[in-house]
């Protein structure tokens, strides 16, 4: 059953058309890697899915919610869809546990004690229980990124979106974060992830989607796609920067 259904989405910034009719369907428990050159519209697609960007035409349904720009509906949607960004975006004035419990407490009315239990659970999921009371600026980049993931998980989302969550990290720290994502995949979380880590995409993602010039240029089971890219563009892309 498809938990994310994107249908003919067009998105323009002024005159610039960034998404030119994107359609994609993701089933529950699937892991989808989105790859493509800078500027091809990967982030924009993710941001459209959780309503951070409005789009001009087409429709998106995610976890049973129809994506539309109505504040109350958006909030309901976002309780079911977690997103993690490249730049972590932790709240610098709150401790790790406060970062995590903020939204459950004020949007779901979870009590302080229960919220703490949740915080402990998701922190151990990402292997950072000992940073419970630390402030974000006391953590390394990789640790911050894992807290950002934990913060999303605390909402018990049905779908997780990841936007280049390792690009700002050096190789060692990248490893930490990829491990957490692999673990999530194993636990059956539905995930869409934009990534530059081809080896990770290949090994973890069920499906890989190659975006090019605002379109889904090529898509398919990861193994196949990486081994037998059909379009010239994807062949060129895979040949270029990838190590």
């Amino acid at each position: 059953m498809s938990v994310v259904a994107i249908d003919q989405v067009h998105k323009r910034y002024g005159a610039l058309e960034v998404l030119k009719g994107v359609s994609l369907s993701v089933d529950t428990g699937q892991v989808v890697a989105i790859i493509g050159r800078s500027g091809s519209g990967k982030s924009t697609m993710l941001r459209c899915i959780n309503g951070l960007e409005a789009f001009q035409s087409g429709s998106i349904t995610v976890a049973g919610h129809d994506v539309q720009q109505e504040p109350t509906k958006l909030r309901e949607l976002r309780k079911d869809v977690g997103i993690v960004f490249q730049s972590y975006n932790l709240f610098p004035h709150l401790t790790v546990s406060q970062n995590i419990t903020l939204s459950p407490r004020i949007t779901q009315g979870v009590k302080a004690a229960d919220a703490e239990v949740i915080a402990r659970r998701v922190l151990s999921q990402v292997g950072l229980l000992e940073k419970f009371d630390a402030y974000p600026d006391m953590l390394s980049g990789g640790q911050q990124q894992r807290v950002a993931i934990a913060r999303s998980l605390a909402m018990r989302p049905k779908v997780m979106l990841f936007d280049e969550v390792t690009s700002a990290l050096d190789p060692e720290l990248t490893g930490e974060v990829l491990l957490v994502m692999e673990q999530l995949a194993k636990e059956g979380m539905t995930m869409l992830l934009v990534t530059h880590e081809m080896s990770f995409a290949r090994s973890v993602a069920d499906l890989t989607v190659f975006m090019h010039q605002g379109k889904i240029w090529e898509a398919g089971p990861s193994k196949e796609l990486f081994e037998r890219p059909t379009t010239a563009e994807l062949q060129a892309f895979l040949a270029s920067g990838v190590k």
Binding site: L52, E76, K79, M155
Partner: protein
Amino acid sequence: MEFSLHFASVFAESDLIIRGILLTIGLSSSAILLGSGLAILLVATRNLGNKFVRGCVDAYVELLRNTPFLIQLFMIFFGLPLMGVRMSGTQAALLAMTLNLSAYATEIIRAGVDSIHKSQIEAGLSLALSRIQVFRYVVLKPAIAKVWPSLSSQFVLMLLASSICSFISVPELSGAAAIVEQRTFRSFETYIVVTLSYLALALVLKLILIWLGHRLFHRKVVSILSTASKGGIA
């Protein structure tokens, strides 16, 4: 020129001065609390409201920032009664100080809010917070932290500007001093006492604000005097 200072007759009126100091403290601290509270509300309103609401808040800020405090005070104390709203000098002073401070503080805090990166707001929204909740829990504190020095300066300026309230009979510090001065003609002595009192009040306020800033925003209290700059590279 044979001139010498005689503080005796000024100190004879120390009752009046001390009551003035207490009133200055009371007025200033209330105005700081109420004015900042109002400013936060205004910034929130401006932030969440539509173009019209934003225009109204801007008009309020510009009107109060660009006209003299004395005249605002005058209009509230003498003008409002003509429209049937009467309040005591102290109430009028508190209202005028609160409004005046709120205008300056609104502008300062707004700058702080504008400097909060968009990604923080997006992160908040993505966690299913409403725009008001994002403002309250995500934006507000870091925004105020960023502009705390300017805000503190504005508070001290307000403390010093409260002297103007003596114009409408409020016997705060400088009002009390003017009474003493006119009774005794010991001008220099009076003004020296007043200057030192304001200096003490302002220093204490400033130190409290610095301490509070570190307490609220830095998690560790550091030395209050100068800390070396990050720019200290030869």
